[in-house]
């Protein structure tokens, strides 16, 4: 294949982030630590992407993730192109992902993709000549949310290892839960506590993988109050009405999974409450003032860990070769 101009990366060193397992534990830790340094010293990194372009291909709407990537690239001194709605792209004309990606690789140095179909970013990475970042594919993976969660845990708990982590709400369809639980397993979590209605339990295949591969204790309960005093990190998710077969079941259960200060009475003083956002009503507004609530800071940290990720995949700043 003839290479036409540009300084595209050597294909052999081309890396993508499609799922957290694409990075070794050491690589994840390095990205998280760099994100922490970028958060503390942003001016050190404000021009490492000068002259570089990030293309964001959002085939379905997103607020936080899209703007978080935009903000990350702009804070590194780079530029942006892309679309935030498939209706304004040639996908509407029926163009395949492979064709779109091949062409976008000539216009940009890195691609960020969100797609409603599961596995679409992986397909994109197979045809791309520049790094591809999965910014969420259906109910499947959302690895940069996981990196955001890991940086939040690092900043607020000092380390990633040896925590008791409770996941509360929709554990069946919540992609952020699936990604984070696997990553925390790699970082030697002490224990997982799964709090959900029966209809929304963690998939059994994932539970089996956690037990077989990592030998981590898993406790499943129906209500937070049963276990709150054990928890170091409480990860809340939204229970969506459309996940239930009938409205009666949803109405019966939804209040049990709304976090209030009452339910936190016996919680550890240094427990942290996380949430990938957007929140609808699963965390009562009164909890926002609770010192344990870190979910807004979590969103803020997402920008810095994405800056670190862009640096890694584009091999700029601390990741520059040679």
């Amino acid at each position: 294949m003839v290479s036409i101009g540009g300084d595209k990366m050597n294909h052999s060193s081309l890396r993508h982030l499609i799922e957290p397992e694409d990075f070794t534990k050491e690589e994840i830790l390095k990205v998280v630590e760099l994100g922490e340094d970028m958060y503390n010293n942003p001016s050190k990194y404000s021009d490492i992407c000068n002259g570089k372009i990030l293309a964001s291909l959002f085939y379905e709407p997103s607020t936080r993730t899209k703007f978080s990537f935009d903000s990350a690239m702009l804070r590194l001194g780079g530029n942006l192109i892309g679309f935030a709605d498939a209706n304004t792209s040639s996908a509407k004309k029926g163009e395949s992902i492979a064709d779109t990606i091949r062409v976008m690789g000539y216009y940009a140095d890195i691609i960020v993709m969100r797609h409603p179909k599961e596995g679409a970013p992986k397909l994109a990475s197979m045809y791309s000549e520049v790094p591809v970042i999965n910014a969420g594919d259906g109910g499947h993976q959302h690895p940069t949310q996981t990196l955001t969660d890991l940086l939040t845990i690092k900043v607020y708990k000092g380390q990633l290892e040896n925590h008791t982590i409770a996941f509360c709400g929709d554990l069946k369809y919540g992609r952020t839960v699936h990604s984070l639980i696997r990553s925390m397993a790699r970082f030697n979590a002490k224990k997982f506590i799964l709090i959900s209605p029966e209809e929304l339990q963690l998939p059994s295949s994932l539970k089996r993988q956690l037990k077989d591969q990592y030998d981590i204790e898993i406790e499943e309960v129906r209500y937070l109050e049963e276990v709150v005093e054990q928890i170091d990190i409480l990860y809340m998710t939204r229970i969506q009405k459309e996940r239930f077969f009938n409205e009666e079941d949803y109405l019966k259960l939804k209040n049990s999974y709304i976090l209030t200060n009452d339910k936190l009475e016996n919680a550890k003083e240094d427990m942290i409450i996380m949430h990938p956002l957007p929140r609808v009503n699963e965390i009562s507004y009164e909890v926002d003032d609770n010192k344990r609530a870190v979910y807004f800071e979590q969103s803020k940290l997402g920008v810095y860990v994405r800056m670190a990720l862009i640096s890694k995949l584009m091999e700029v700043g601390p990741y520059v070769r040679g």
């Binding site: 179909k117 599961e118 596995g119 397909l123």
Partner: protein
């Protein structure tokens, strides 16, 4: 009794569980090949009571192991000049490319013609084979 001649060159798929012959026929896309094919169903068998058999003349280049998703006991007999030159039982493949579709309705492999559905073996026991989709990680189970 129904009798079918042997073949001079080709392949005989034997010991197919009775009733599964048609699935094997479709899995190998035998309706699309330009060669004589015979599907025998409910043939008497000492071991199985009844079994299905498929004979394909003049063509042997098939992915036989994919048939283990239908029945792991199928035996493949390669015939050359009226003699059996090779006999083996289908083996459970580690990887499947094409042949089957991902059952996850949200999987990209069900929407994009560029991509070949690809699966890796996830688990196997006496009764069930499990494959995981390389794109969406959905698990598909097959009864053995």
């Amino acid at each position: 009794m129904l009798e079918v001649k042997g073949i001079l060159n080709g392949v005989v798929l034997d010991h197919i569980k009775a009733g599964k012959g048609l699935e094997v026929f479709h899995m190998l896309k035998l309706n699309k090949i330009d060669a004589p094919v015979v599907l025998l169903m409910n043939v008497g068998s000492k071991d199985l009571g009844k079994k299905d058999i498929i004979k394909i003349e003049d063509k042997v280049d098939f992915n036989f192991n994919i048939l283990s998703l239908i029945d792991t006991h199928i035996t493949v007999n390669i015939i050359k000049n009226d003699k059996r030159v090779e006999k083996f039982t289908v083996e459970v493949p580690e990887e499947i490319i094409g042949h089957i579709e991902c059952k996850n309705p949200r999987c990209i492999t069900n929407f994009d013609d560029y991509v070949n559905p690809t699966f890796h073996k996830f688990a196997e026991d006496d009764k069930v084979l499990e494959y995981v989709c390389s794109f969406c990680e959905e698990i598909t189970k097959f009864k053995k």
